[in-house]
Protein backbone atom coordinates (compact mmCIF):
# COMPACT_ATOMS: atom_id res chain seq x y z
CA UNK A 1 0.00 0.00 0.00
CA UNK A 2 1.18 3.45 -0.85
CA UNK A 3 2.27 5.45 2.14
CA UNK A 4 1.11 9.03 2.20
CA UNK A 5 2.63 11.31 4.73
CA UNK A 6 1.70 14.56 3.07
CA UNK A 7 -1.65 16.23 2.77
CA UNK A 8 -4.01 13.86 1.10
CA UNK A 9 -5.81 15.07 -1.97
CA UNK A 10 -9.48 14.94 -2.54
CA UNK A 11 -11.75 16.75 -4.95
CA UNK A 12 -15.35 16.98 -6.02
CA UNK A 13 -17.25 18.14 -9.06
CA UNK A 14 -20.87 19.08 -9.41
CA UNK A 15 -22.49 18.81 -12.82
CA UNK A 16 -26.03 19.74 -13.64
CA UNK A 17 -27.25 17.39 -16.31
CA UNK A 18 -30.67 17.19 -17.81
CA UNK A 19 -33.14 16.49 -15.03
CA UNK A 20 -30.49 15.48 -12.57
CA UNK A 21 -27.49 16.77 -10.66
CA UNK A 22 -24.40 14.64 -10.39
CA UNK A 23 -21.96 15.11 -7.52
CA UNK A 24 -18.73 13.32 -8.20
CA UNK A 25 -16.37 12.77 -5.30
CA UNK A 26 -12.86 11.52 -5.89
CA UNK A 27 -9.68 10.83 -3.99
CA UNK A 28 -9.37 11.03 -0.25
CA UNK A 29 -11.79 13.53 1.14
CA UNK A 30 -11.45 14.84 4.68
CA UNK A 31 -12.92 17.48 6.90
CA UNK A 32 -10.65 20.03 5.20
CA UNK A 33 -12.68 19.62 2.02
CA UNK A 34 -15.94 19.97 3.89
CA UNK A 35 -16.38 23.78 3.86
CA UNK A 36 -16.21 24.04 0.05
CA UNK A 37 -18.22 20.86 -0.52
CA UNK A 38 -20.95 21.91 1.88
CA UNK A 39 -21.15 25.38 0.32
CA UNK A 40 -21.46 23.83 -3.15
CA UNK A 41 -24.07 21.32 -2.04
CA UNK A 42 -26.14 24.10 -0.55
CA UNK A 43 -26.20 25.87 -3.92
CA UNK A 44 -27.85 22.99 -5.74
CA UNK A 45 -31.39 24.19 -6.20
CA UNK A 46 -32.67 21.96 -8.96
CA UNK A 47 -35.90 20.07 -8.49
CA UNK A 48 -34.55 16.91 -10.04
CA UNK A 49 -32.86 13.98 -8.37
CA UNK A 50 -29.29 14.24 -7.07
CA UNK A 51 -26.79 11.49 -7.57
CA UNK A 52 -23.64 11.12 -5.53
CA UNK A 53 -21.14 9.23 -7.62
CA UNK A 54 -18.51 7.80 -5.33
CA UNK A 55 -16.83 5.51 -7.85
CA UNK A 56 -13.49 7.26 -7.60
CA UNK A 57 -13.73 8.20 -3.93
CA UNK A 58 -10.88 6.40 -2.24
CA UNK A 59 -11.94 7.23 1.26
CA UNK A 60 -14.13 9.73 3.01
CA UNK A 61 -14.27 10.69 6.64
CA UNK A 62 -17.32 11.11 8.81
CA UNK A 63 -17.64 14.82 8.07
CA UNK A 64 -18.01 14.16 4.33
CA UNK A 65 -20.49 11.39 5.09
CA UNK A 66 -22.32 13.88 7.26
CA UNK A 67 -22.49 16.36 4.36
CA UNK A 68 -24.00 13.67 2.11
CA UNK A 69 -26.49 12.75 4.80
CA UNK A 70 -27.36 16.40 5.46
CA UNK A 71 -27.90 16.94 1.73
CA UNK A 72 -30.14 13.91 1.65
CA UNK A 73 -32.21 15.34 4.48
CA UNK A 74 -32.50 18.71 2.73
CA UNK A 75 -33.55 17.19 -0.60
CA UNK A 76 -35.93 14.81 1.08
CA UNK A 77 -37.72 17.84 2.43
CA UNK A 78 -38.08 19.10 -1.19
CA UNK A 79 -39.14 15.68 -2.34
CA UNK A 80 -36.08 15.35 -4.56
CA UNK A 81 -34.54 11.94 -4.78
CA UNK A 82 -30.97 11.42 -3.59
CA UNK A 83 -28.95 8.38 -4.49
CA UNK A 84 -25.45 7.23 -3.67
CA UNK A 85 -23.86 5.07 -6.34
CA UNK A 86 -20.79 2.93 -6.83
CA UNK A 87 -19.41 3.50 -3.35
CA UNK A 88 -16.57 1.24 -2.30
CA UNK A 89 -17.38 -0.94 0.73
CA UNK A 90 -15.33 1.16 3.16
CA UNK A 91 -16.93 4.36 1.91
CA UNK A 92 -20.44 2.94 2.05
CA UNK A 93 -19.74 1.72 5.57
CA UNK A 94 -18.82 5.20 6.76
CA UNK A 95 -21.96 6.67 5.22
CA UNK A 96 -24.08 4.00 6.84
CA UNK A 97 -22.50 4.51 10.27
CA UNK A 98 -23.01 8.24 10.10
CA UNK A 99 -26.57 7.95 8.86
CA UNK A 100 -27.38 5.61 11.72
CA UNK A 101 -25.84 7.96 14.25
CA UNK A 102 -27.57 11.04 12.83
CA UNK A 103 -28.14 13.22 15.89
CA UNK A 104 -31.71 14.24 16.44
CA UNK A 105 -32.30 17.46 18.30
CA UNK A 106 -34.18 17.19 21.51
CA UNK A 107 -36.31 20.14 22.43
CA UNK A 108 -34.55 22.15 25.10
CA UNK A 109 -36.57 22.96 28.16
CA UNK A 110 -38.17 26.33 27.59
CA UNK A 111 -36.35 28.95 29.62
CA UNK A 112 -38.23 31.28 31.92
CA UNK A 113 -38.93 34.82 30.68
CA UNK A 114 -36.07 37.19 31.43
CA UNK A 115 -37.82 39.10 34.20
CA UNK A 116 -38.63 35.90 36.05
CA UNK A 117 -35.11 34.65 35.45
CA UNK A 118 -33.66 37.91 36.78
CA UNK A 119 -35.87 37.89 39.85
CA UNK A 120 -35.19 34.27 40.58
CA UNK A 121 -31.47 34.89 40.24
CA UNK A 122 -31.62 37.75 42.73
CA UNK A 123 -33.75 35.63 45.03
CA UNK A 124 -31.37 32.71 44.79
CA UNK A 125 -28.50 35.08 45.57
CA UNK A 126 -30.21 36.40 48.69
CA UNK A 127 -31.15 32.94 49.89
CA UNK A 128 -27.60 31.78 49.15
CA UNK A 129 -26.23 34.63 51.24
CA UNK A 130 -28.47 33.59 54.13
CA UNK A 131 -27.36 29.98 53.76
CA UNK A 132 -23.75 31.15 53.78
CA UNK A 133 -24.27 32.95 57.09
CA UNK A 134 -25.92 29.86 58.56
CA UNK A 135 -23.02 27.75 57.39
CA UNK A 136 -20.57 30.21 58.85
CA UNK A 137 -22.37 29.99 62.18
CA UNK A 138 -22.34 26.21 61.88
CA UNK A 139 -18.58 25.96 61.32
CA UNK A 140 -17.92 28.57 64.01
CA UNK A 141 -20.14 26.63 66.41
CA UNK A 142 -18.32 23.44 65.57
CA UNK A 143 -15.01 25.19 66.27
CA UNK A 144 -16.25 26.40 69.68
CA UNK A 145 -17.68 23.00 70.57
CA UNK A 146 -14.47 21.21 69.62
CA UNK A 147 -12.37 23.69 71.58
CA UNK A 148 -14.59 23.13 74.61
CA UNK A 149 -14.24 19.37 74.15
CA UNK A 150 -10.49 19.76 73.96
CA UNK A 151 -10.52 21.58 77.29
CA UNK A 152 -12.50 18.80 78.91
CA UNK A 153 -10.51 16.05 77.18
CA UNK A 154 -7.09 17.48 76.41
CA UNK A 155 -6.04 14.19 74.87
CA UNK A 156 -8.04 14.97 71.72
CA UNK A 157 -6.22 18.21 71.19
CA UNK A 158 -3.66 18.16 68.39
CA UNK A 159 -0.71 20.16 69.57
CA UNK A 160 1.61 19.16 66.73
CA UNK A 161 -0.86 20.35 64.12
CA UNK A 162 -1.36 23.59 66.02
CA UNK A 163 2.36 24.28 66.16
CA UNK A 164 2.71 23.45 62.47
CA UNK A 165 -0.04 25.86 61.49
CA UNK A 166 1.33 28.53 63.85
CA UNK A 167 4.58 28.35 61.97
CA UNK A 168 2.89 28.47 58.58
CA UNK A 169 0.50 31.34 59.28
CA UNK A 170 2.57 33.21 61.87
CA UNK A 171 6.28 32.85 61.56
CA UNK A 172 6.37 32.58 57.79
CA UNK A 173 4.16 35.65 57.43
CA UNK A 174 6.41 37.89 59.54
CA UNK A 175 8.65 39.15 56.68
CA UNK A 176 5.83 40.16 54.37
CA UNK A 177 3.75 41.71 57.18
CA UNK A 178 6.70 43.65 58.60
CA UNK A 179 7.77 44.91 55.19
CA UNK A 180 4.28 46.00 54.24
CA UNK A 181 3.76 47.82 57.51
CA UNK A 182 7.16 49.48 57.32
CA UNK A 183 6.31 50.83 53.88
CA UNK A 184 2.92 52.06 55.07
CA UNK A 185 4.70 53.91 57.89
CA UNK A 186 7.05 55.48 55.36
CA UNK A 187 4.19 56.55 53.08
CA UNK A 188 2.18 58.02 55.96
CA UNK A 189 5.15 60.04 57.19
CA UNK A 190 5.88 61.28 53.71
CA UNK A 191 2.33 62.27 52.83
CA UNK A 192 1.53 63.55 56.29
CA UNK A 193 4.57 65.80 56.44
CA UNK A 194 3.78 67.29 53.05
CA UNK A 195 0.30 68.28 54.24
CA UNK A 196 1.16 69.31 57.78
CA UNK A 197 4.07 71.47 56.68
CA UNK A 198 1.59 73.91 55.15
CA UNK A 199 0.33 74.66 58.66
CA UNK A 200 3.75 74.52 60.27
CA UNK A 201 2.57 71.60 62.27
CA UNK A 202 5.14 69.09 61.13
CA UNK A 203 5.62 67.66 64.57
CA UNK A 204 2.07 66.33 64.60
CA UNK A 205 3.11 63.83 61.96
CA UNK A 206 4.11 61.64 64.92
CA UNK A 207 0.54 61.63 66.19
CA UNK A 208 -0.75 61.02 62.71
CA UNK A 209 1.49 58.00 62.20
CA UNK A 210 1.02 56.61 65.68
CA UNK A 211 -2.73 56.89 65.79
CA UNK A 212 -3.44 55.67 62.27
CA UNK A 213 -1.07 52.73 62.48
CA UNK A 214 -1.82 51.63 66.02
CA UNK A 215 -5.56 52.10 65.82
CA UNK A 216 -6.32 51.00 62.30
CA UNK A 217 -3.80 50.29 59.65
CA UNK A 218 -1.39 47.96 61.42
CA UNK A 219 -3.96 45.34 62.30
CA UNK A 220 -6.31 45.90 59.38
CA UNK A 221 -3.64 45.54 56.70
CA UNK A 222 -2.12 42.57 58.49
CA UNK A 223 -5.53 40.93 58.55
CA UNK A 224 -6.01 41.61 54.84
CA UNK A 225 -2.63 40.10 53.96
CA UNK A 226 -3.30 37.12 56.18
CA UNK A 227 -6.75 36.74 54.63
CA UNK A 228 -5.18 36.53 51.20
CA UNK A 229 -2.42 34.23 52.31
CA UNK A 230 -4.03 31.97 54.84
CA UNK A 231 -7.71 31.79 53.91
CA UNK A 232 -6.74 30.60 50.45
CA UNK A 233 -4.26 28.10 51.89
CA UNK A 234 -6.89 26.70 54.25
CA UNK A 235 -9.48 26.40 51.50
CA UNK A 236 -7.04 24.77 49.12
CA UNK A 237 -5.75 22.30 51.73
CA UNK A 238 -9.13 21.28 53.12
CA UNK A 239 -10.75 21.45 49.68
CA UNK A 240 -8.27 19.11 48.04
CA UNK A 241 -8.73 16.69 50.93
CA UNK A 242 -12.46 16.91 50.42
CA UNK A 243 -12.03 16.37 46.70
CA UNK A 244 -10.09 13.16 47.21
CA UNK A 245 -12.56 11.93 49.84
CA UNK A 246 -9.93 12.13 52.56
CA UNK A 247 -12.43 13.81 54.85
CA UNK A 248 -14.93 11.00 54.34
CA UNK A 249 -12.14 8.54 55.11
CA UNK A 250 -11.39 10.41 58.32
CA UNK A 251 -15.00 10.19 59.39
CA UNK A 252 -15.15 6.45 58.78
CA UNK A 253 -11.95 6.02 60.78
CA UNK A 254 -13.52 7.86 63.70
CA UNK A 255 -11.40 11.00 63.31
CA UNK A 256 -13.39 14.17 63.65
CA UNK A 257 -12.54 16.67 60.89
CA UNK A 258 -13.35 19.48 63.32
CA UNK A 259 -10.66 18.31 65.73
CA UNK A 260 -8.16 17.36 63.10
CA UNK A 261 -8.54 20.17 60.61
CA UNK A 262 -10.51 23.12 61.87
CA UNK A 263 -9.44 23.59 65.51
CA UNK A 264 -5.68 23.68 64.85
CA UNK A 265 -6.09 26.03 61.90
CA UNK A 266 -8.43 28.55 63.46
CA UNK A 267 -6.66 28.43 66.80
CA UNK A 268 -3.31 29.01 65.12
CA UNK A 269 -4.69 32.13 63.46
CA UNK A 270 -6.24 33.23 66.76
CA UNK A 271 -2.86 33.03 68.44
CA UNK A 272 -0.78 34.42 65.62
CA UNK A 273 -2.77 37.32 64.24
CA UNK A 274 -2.41 39.51 67.39
CA UNK A 275 1.33 38.84 67.36
CA UNK A 276 1.54 39.69 63.67
CA UNK A 277 -0.49 42.83 64.40
CA UNK A 278 1.96 43.86 67.09
CA UNK A 279 4.90 43.28 64.74
CA UNK A 280 3.11 45.33 62.10
CA UNK A 281 2.59 48.15 64.60
CA UNK A 282 6.26 48.16 65.52
CA UNK A 283 7.43 48.00 61.90
CA UNK A 284 5.03 50.78 60.90
CA UNK A 285 6.22 53.06 63.69
CA UNK A 286 9.82 52.30 62.75
CA UNK A 287 9.16 53.19 59.11
CA UNK A 288 7.37 56.37 60.13
CA UNK A 289 10.14 57.39 62.52
CA UNK A 290 12.78 56.79 59.88
CA UNK A 291 10.96 58.89 57.30
CA UNK A 292 10.22 61.66 59.81
CA UNK A 293 13.89 61.80 60.67
CA UNK A 294 15.00 62.01 57.05
CA UNK A 295 12.26 64.26 55.76
CA UNK A 296 11.46 66.50 58.75
CA UNK A 297 14.51 66.14 60.91
CA UNK A 298 12.53 64.77 63.83
CA UNK A 299 15.15 62.75 65.67
CA UNK A 300 14.27 59.26 66.89
CA UNK A 301 14.51 60.46 70.50
CA UNK A 302 12.09 63.27 69.80
CA UNK A 303 9.81 60.90 67.92
CA UNK A 304 9.76 58.60 70.95
CA UNK A 305 9.04 61.41 73.38
CA UNK A 306 6.30 62.78 71.19
CA UNK A 307 4.89 59.27 70.77
CA UNK A 308 4.68 58.68 74.52
CA UNK A 309 3.27 62.12 75.25
CA UNK A 310 0.78 62.44 72.47
CA UNK A 311 -0.54 58.94 72.02
CA UNK A 312 -2.69 57.21 74.52
CA UNK A 313 -1.92 53.53 75.06
CA UNK A 314 -5.60 52.81 74.51
CA UNK A 315 -4.88 53.21 70.79
CA UNK A 316 -2.80 50.05 70.86
CA UNK A 317 -5.55 48.28 72.74
CA UNK A 318 -8.23 49.46 70.31
CA UNK A 319 -6.13 48.14 67.46
CA UNK A 320 -5.11 44.80 68.82
CA UNK A 321 -8.46 43.86 70.32
CA UNK A 322 -9.75 43.50 66.78
CA UNK A 323 -7.13 40.94 65.83
CA UNK A 324 -8.74 37.86 67.42
CA UNK A 325 -12.05 38.70 65.77
CA UNK A 326 -10.40 39.04 62.38
CA UNK A 327 -8.57 35.77 63.02
CA UNK A 328 -11.81 33.90 63.68
CA UNK A 329 -13.43 35.40 60.60
CA UNK A 330 -10.52 34.51 58.31
CA UNK A 331 -10.01 31.04 59.74
CA UNK A 332 -13.64 30.02 59.78
CA UNK A 333 -14.34 31.40 56.29
CA UNK A 334 -11.29 29.60 54.92
CA UNK A 335 -12.24 26.26 56.49
CA UNK A 336 -15.91 26.63 55.57
CA UNK A 337 -15.08 27.25 51.93
CA UNK A 338 -12.76 24.24 51.95
CA UNK A 339 -15.53 22.00 53.25
CA UNK A 340 -17.82 23.21 50.47
CA UNK A 341 -15.49 22.10 47.65
CA UNK A 342 -17.14 19.54 45.40
CA UNK A 343 -15.54 16.78 43.40
CA UNK A 344 -14.00 18.86 40.61
CA UNK A 345 -10.80 20.86 40.42
CA UNK A 346 -12.84 23.75 39.10
CA UNK A 347 -14.88 24.01 42.29
CA UNK A 348 -11.64 24.02 44.27
CA UNK A 349 -10.42 27.05 42.34
CA UNK A 350 -13.75 28.80 42.61
CA UNK A 351 -14.05 28.24 46.35
CA UNK A 352 -10.47 29.35 46.96
CA UNK A 353 -10.93 32.67 45.26
CA UNK A 354 -14.34 33.24 46.83
CA UNK A 355 -12.89 32.43 50.27
CA UNK A 356 -10.28 35.17 49.86
CA UNK A 357 -12.86 37.70 48.71
CA UNK A 358 -15.26 36.77 51.51
CA UNK A 359 -12.52 36.87 54.15
CA UNK A 360 -11.25 40.30 53.11
CA UNK A 361 -14.76 41.64 52.90
CA UNK A 362 -15.64 40.25 56.33
CA UNK A 363 -12.49 41.78 57.84
CA UNK A 364 -13.28 45.23 56.47
CA UNK A 365 -16.92 44.99 57.49
CA UNK A 366 -15.94 43.98 61.02
CA UNK A 367 -13.45 46.83 61.14
CA UNK A 368 -16.18 49.30 60.22
CA UNK A 369 -18.44 47.92 62.95
CA UNK A 370 -15.58 48.21 65.46
CA UNK A 371 -15.03 51.86 64.47
CA UNK A 372 -18.65 52.72 65.15
CA UNK A 373 -18.55 50.77 68.41
CA UNK A 374 -15.44 52.52 69.72
CA UNK A 375 -16.83 55.87 68.62
CA UNK A 376 -19.98 55.22 70.64
CA UNK A 377 -18.17 54.17 73.80
CA UNK A 378 -15.76 57.04 73.38
CA UNK A 379 -12.45 55.25 73.08
Amino acid sequence: MERRTHRRQGSFEIRSEAERTRVELSGRLTVRDLPSLEAALREIDGEGPVEFDLASAESIDTSIAWAIDAARQRFDARQAEVSVTSAAPNVAQVIETVTEARPTPEPAEPGAPWLTALLSRIGAGVVGMGALLTEFAGVFGMFLARVAQSIIRPREFRLTALVHHCEAVGLQAVPIVALMSFLIGVVLAFQGSAQLRQFGAEVFVVDLIAISILRELGVLLTAIIVAGRTASAYTAAIGSMKMRQEIDAMRTLGIDPGHALIVPRVLALLLMLPILGLIADAAGLFGGALMSWMELGISPAMFATRLVEGTNVSNVFVGLVKAPVFAILIGVIGCQAGLKVGSTAESLGRMTSSAVVAAIFAVILADAIFSIFFQQIGL
Binding site: V31, P35, S63, W66, T97, A101, T104, T344
Partner: protein, 261 residues
Protein backbone atom coordinates in the same frame (compact mmCIF):
# COMPACT_ATOMS: atom_id res chain seq x y z
CA UNK B 1 -0.21 -8.06 7.09
CA UNK B 2 -1.37 -4.53 6.57
CA UNK B 3 0.70 -1.39 6.72
CA UNK B 4 2.53 -0.70 9.99
CA UNK B 5 1.28 2.55 11.48
CA UNK B 6 3.25 2.53 14.71
CA UNK B 7 6.74 1.18 14.92
CA UNK B 8 8.54 1.21 18.27
CA UNK B 9 12.17 0.09 18.32
CA UNK B 10 14.56 -0.27 21.23
CA UNK B 11 12.49 2.00 23.44
CA UNK B 12 13.85 2.89 26.85
CA UNK B 13 11.97 4.92 29.44
CA UNK B 14 13.23 5.73 32.86
CA UNK B 15 12.39 7.98 35.76
CA UNK B 16 15.57 8.73 37.68
CA UNK B 17 17.20 5.39 38.25
CA UNK B 18 13.93 3.49 37.84
CA UNK B 19 13.88 1.89 34.39
CA UNK B 20 10.33 1.30 33.14
CA UNK B 21 11.02 0.09 29.61
CA UNK B 22 14.19 -1.40 28.26
CA UNK B 23 14.73 -2.36 24.64
CA UNK B 24 11.02 -2.44 23.90
CA UNK B 25 9.81 -3.26 20.38
CA UNK B 26 6.23 -3.03 19.19
CA UNK B 27 4.39 -2.85 15.87
CA UNK B 28 0.82 -1.75 15.36
CA UNK B 29 -0.90 -2.42 12.03
CA UNK B 30 -3.48 -0.33 10.26
CA UNK B 31 -7.08 -0.99 11.18
CA UNK B 32 -6.44 -3.35 14.06
CA UNK B 33 -7.40 -3.03 17.69
CA UNK B 34 -4.38 -3.69 19.85
CA UNK B 35 -4.82 -4.26 23.55
CA UNK B 36 -1.86 -3.64 25.82
CA UNK B 37 -1.95 -5.50 29.13
CA UNK B 38 0.46 -5.85 31.99
CA UNK B 39 0.59 -5.78 35.74
CA UNK B 40 0.30 -2.54 37.67
CA UNK B 41 3.48 -0.51 37.34
CA UNK B 42 4.70 -2.15 34.14
CA UNK B 43 4.38 1.15 32.34
CA UNK B 44 1.37 0.65 30.12
CA UNK B 45 0.28 4.25 30.37
CA UNK B 46 3.88 5.41 30.05
CA UNK B 47 4.10 3.49 26.77
CA UNK B 48 0.90 5.09 25.54
CA UNK B 49 2.16 8.55 26.51
CA UNK B 50 5.48 7.93 24.80
CA UNK B 51 3.93 6.79 21.54
CA UNK B 52 1.39 9.61 21.58
CA UNK B 53 4.31 12.03 21.91
CA UNK B 54 3.46 13.27 25.39
CA UNK B 55 6.75 12.01 26.77
CA UNK B 56 10.23 11.77 25.36
CA UNK B 57 11.89 8.37 25.59
CA UNK B 58 15.38 8.10 27.04
CA UNK B 59 16.44 6.01 24.06
CA UNK B 60 14.97 4.23 21.08
CA UNK B 61 12.69 5.40 18.32
CA UNK B 62 8.98 5.74 17.74
CA UNK B 63 7.68 6.05 14.20
CA UNK B 64 4.04 6.87 13.81
CA UNK B 65 2.31 7.08 10.42
CA UNK B 66 5.73 7.27 8.81
CA UNK B 67 7.02 10.12 10.94
CA UNK B 68 9.89 9.70 13.34
CA UNK B 69 8.73 11.35 16.55
CA UNK B 70 12.30 12.11 17.62
CA UNK B 71 13.38 14.08 14.57
CA UNK B 72 10.02 15.49 13.49
CA UNK B 73 9.70 19.25 13.21
CA UNK B 74 7.10 21.27 15.10
CA UNK B 75 4.92 21.51 12.00
CA UNK B 76 5.13 17.78 11.34
CA UNK B 77 4.16 17.02 14.92
CA UNK B 78 1.24 19.41 14.67
CA UNK B 79 0.09 17.74 11.48
CA UNK B 80 0.47 14.37 13.15
CA UNK B 81 -1.60 15.44 16.13
CA UNK B 82 -4.54 15.94 13.77
CA UNK B 83 -4.23 12.35 12.64
CA UNK B 84 -4.28 10.80 16.10
CA UNK B 85 -6.74 11.07 18.96
CA UNK B 86 -6.20 10.32 22.64
CA UNK B 87 -8.86 9.47 25.19
CA UNK B 88 -7.52 9.84 28.70
CA UNK B 89 -8.63 7.79 31.64
CA UNK B 90 -11.28 10.10 33.01
CA UNK B 91 -11.94 11.84 29.72
CA UNK B 92 -9.71 14.82 30.59
CA UNK B 93 -12.44 17.12 29.33
CA UNK B 94 -11.97 20.84 29.78
CA UNK B 95 -14.12 21.47 32.81
CA UNK B 96 -15.00 25.04 31.92
CA UNK B 97 -16.48 24.02 28.56
CA UNK B 98 -19.64 22.09 27.81
CA UNK B 99 -19.30 18.70 26.12
CA UNK B 100 -20.25 20.25 22.79
CA UNK B 101 -17.61 22.96 23.15
CA UNK B 102 -15.07 20.35 24.18
CA UNK B 103 -15.63 18.43 20.96
CA UNK B 104 -15.54 21.66 18.96
CA UNK B 105 -12.05 22.54 20.25
CA UNK B 106 -10.08 20.39 17.75
CA UNK B 107 -12.51 21.28 14.94
CA UNK B 108 -11.76 24.98 15.38
CA UNK B 109 -8.32 24.32 13.87
CA UNK B 110 -9.89 23.56 10.47
CA UNK B 111 -9.94 26.66 8.29
CA UNK B 112 -13.24 27.68 6.77
CA UNK B 113 -15.43 25.63 9.04
CA UNK B 114 -18.11 28.02 10.23
CA UNK B 115 -19.78 27.86 13.61
CA UNK B 116 -22.75 26.04 12.12
CA UNK B 117 -20.71 23.26 10.52
CA UNK B 118 -18.50 22.97 13.59
CA UNK B 119 -21.49 22.45 15.80
CA UNK B 120 -23.11 19.97 13.41
CA UNK B 121 -19.92 17.89 13.23
CA UNK B 122 -19.47 18.02 17.00
CA UNK B 123 -23.07 16.86 17.44
CA UNK B 124 -22.36 14.00 15.03
CA UNK B 125 -19.25 12.92 16.99
CA UNK B 126 -21.21 13.05 20.24
CA UNK B 127 -23.88 10.89 18.69
CA UNK B 128 -21.31 8.47 17.22
CA UNK B 129 -19.89 7.96 20.71
CA UNK B 130 -23.33 6.95 21.86
CA UNK B 131 -24.27 10.04 23.84
CA UNK B 132 -27.74 11.58 23.64
CA UNK B 133 -28.24 15.05 22.20
CA UNK B 134 -28.77 16.79 25.54
CA UNK B 135 -25.42 15.53 26.87
CA UNK B 136 -23.78 18.01 24.49
CA UNK B 137 -25.13 20.97 26.43
CA UNK B 138 -23.95 19.67 29.78
CA UNK B 139 -20.73 20.35 31.57
CA UNK B 140 -18.31 17.51 32.38
CA UNK B 141 -19.03 17.79 36.11
CA UNK B 142 -22.70 17.02 35.44
CA UNK B 143 -21.96 13.74 33.67
CA UNK B 144 -21.40 10.26 35.04
CA UNK B 145 -18.02 8.57 34.65
CA UNK B 146 -19.18 6.53 31.68
CA UNK B 147 -20.60 9.55 29.88
CA UNK B 148 -17.39 11.49 30.51
CA UNK B 149 -15.45 8.69 28.86
CA UNK B 150 -17.77 8.77 25.87
CA UNK B 151 -17.40 12.52 25.67
CA UNK B 152 -13.63 12.06 25.80
CA UNK B 153 -13.94 9.58 22.93
CA UNK B 154 -16.07 12.04 20.96
CA UNK B 155 -13.36 14.68 21.35
CA UNK B 156 -10.65 12.18 20.38
CA UNK B 157 -12.66 11.33 17.23
CA UNK B 158 -13.37 14.94 16.30
CA UNK B 159 -10.91 15.09 13.41
CA UNK B 160 -11.45 11.51 12.21
CA UNK B 161 -8.05 10.34 13.38
CA UNK B 162 -6.32 7.34 11.87
CA UNK B 163 -5.11 6.13 15.25
CA UNK B 164 -6.96 6.42 18.54
CA UNK B 165 -5.24 5.85 21.86
CA UNK B 166 -7.49 4.76 24.70
CA UNK B 167 -6.22 4.69 28.25
CA UNK B 168 -8.22 2.24 30.34
CA UNK B 169 -11.45 2.81 28.39
CA UNK B 170 -13.61 0.67 30.64
CA UNK B 171 -12.03 1.27 34.04
CA UNK B 172 -14.58 2.36 36.59
CA UNK B 173 -17.59 1.48 34.45
CA UNK B 174 -20.26 -0.97 35.47
CA UNK B 175 -20.29 -4.20 33.41
CA UNK B 176 -23.19 -3.06 31.25
CA UNK B 177 -21.61 0.31 30.56
CA UNK B 178 -18.27 -1.34 29.90
CA UNK B 179 -19.78 -3.80 27.42
CA UNK B 180 -21.58 -0.95 25.65
CA UNK B 181 -18.34 1.00 25.46
CA UNK B 182 -16.52 -2.02 24.07
CA UNK B 183 -19.15 -2.23 21.39
CA UNK B 184 -18.79 1.44 20.48
CA UNK B 185 -15.03 1.02 20.16
CA UNK B 186 -15.30 -2.06 17.98
CA UNK B 187 -18.04 -0.65 15.74
CA UNK B 188 -16.25 2.63 15.18
CA UNK B 189 -12.95 0.95 14.53
CA UNK B 190 -14.49 -1.43 12.01
CA UNK B 191 -16.75 1.00 10.20
CA UNK B 192 -14.36 3.96 10.10
CA UNK B 193 -11.19 1.92 9.73
CA UNK B 194 -9.58 3.43 12.80
CA UNK B 195 -6.52 1.82 14.34
CA UNK B 196 -7.02 1.52 18.09
CA UNK B 197 -4.26 1.29 20.67
CA UNK B 198 -5.84 0.55 24.00
CA UNK B 199 -4.40 0.01 27.42
CA UNK B 200 -6.60 -2.04 29.67
CA UNK B 201 -6.96 -4.22 32.71
CA UNK B 202 -10.31 -5.47 31.59
CA UNK B 203 -10.22 -9.07 30.37
CA UNK B 204 -13.69 -8.74 28.92
CA UNK B 205 -12.50 -5.92 26.70
CA UNK B 206 -9.56 -8.02 25.54
CA UNK B 207 -11.75 -10.91 24.57
CA UNK B 208 -14.56 -8.82 23.11
CA UNK B 209 -12.76 -6.25 20.98
CA UNK B 210 -9.03 -6.79 20.62
CA UNK B 211 -7.61 -8.29 17.44
CA UNK B 212 -4.22 -8.63 19.02
CA UNK B 213 -2.82 -8.42 22.52
CA UNK B 214 0.61 -7.16 23.59
CA UNK B 215 1.79 -8.24 27.03
CA UNK B 216 4.10 -5.88 28.87
CA UNK B 217 6.38 -7.63 31.33
CA UNK B 218 10.05 -7.61 32.22
CA UNK B 219 10.31 -4.02 30.92
CA UNK B 220 9.46 -4.96 27.33
CA UNK B 221 6.72 -6.37 25.16
CA UNK B 222 6.94 -9.99 26.13
CA UNK B 223 4.63 -11.43 23.50
CA UNK B 224 2.05 -10.31 21.00
CA UNK B 225 -0.67 -12.35 19.42
CA UNK B 226 -4.35 -13.08 19.53
CA UNK B 227 -5.98 -13.76 22.87
CA UNK B 228 -6.28 -17.42 21.98
CA UNK B 229 -2.57 -17.65 21.40
CA UNK B 230 -1.88 -16.17 24.81
CA UNK B 231 -3.10 -19.32 26.50
CA UNK B 232 -0.17 -21.21 25.03
CA UNK B 233 2.53 -18.81 26.12
CA UNK B 234 4.85 -20.31 28.68
CA UNK B 235 5.44 -17.48 31.09
CA UNK B 236 4.22 -17.45 34.71
CA UNK B 237 2.58 -14.02 34.56
CA UNK B 238 0.95 -14.58 31.17
CA UNK B 239 -0.28 -17.99 32.30
CA UNK B 240 -1.77 -16.60 35.45
CA UNK B 241 -3.35 -13.70 33.60
CA UNK B 242 -4.90 -15.60 30.70
CA UNK B 243 -5.65 -18.87 32.45
CA UNK B 244 -6.80 -17.47 35.80
CA UNK B 245 -10.40 -17.71 36.99
CA UNK B 246 -11.35 -14.28 35.69
CA UNK B 247 -9.93 -15.02 32.25
CA UNK B 248 -11.91 -18.26 32.13
CA UNK B 249 -15.06 -16.34 32.91
CA UNK B 250 -14.35 -13.74 30.23
CA UNK B 251 -13.53 -16.41 27.67
CA UNK B 252 -16.67 -18.29 28.59
CA UNK B 253 -18.75 -15.17 28.06
CA UNK B 254 -17.40 -14.79 24.55
CA UNK B 255 -17.68 -18.47 23.70
CA UNK B 256 -21.24 -18.76 24.95
CA UNK B 257 -23.14 -16.82 22.23
CA UNK B 258 -24.35 -18.92 19.31
CA UNK B 259 -22.17 -16.96 16.87
CA UNK B 260 -19.05 -18.66 18.12
CA UNK B 261 -16.09 -18.02 15.83
Amino acid sequence: MAETVIEVRGLRNQFGSHVVHENLDLDVYRGEILGVVGGSGTGKSVLLRTIAGLQRPAAGSVRMLGTDMETASEAELRGLSERIGVMFQDGALFSSLSVLENVEVPLKAIPGLGTELTEALARLKISLSGLPWIAGDKYPAELSGGMRKRAGLARALALDPEIVFLDEPTAGLDPIGAAAFDEVIRDLSRSLGITVFLVTHDLDTLYAVCDRVAVLAEKRVLVTGTVEEMAEVDHPWVKEYFLGPRARAARGAIAAPPTKG
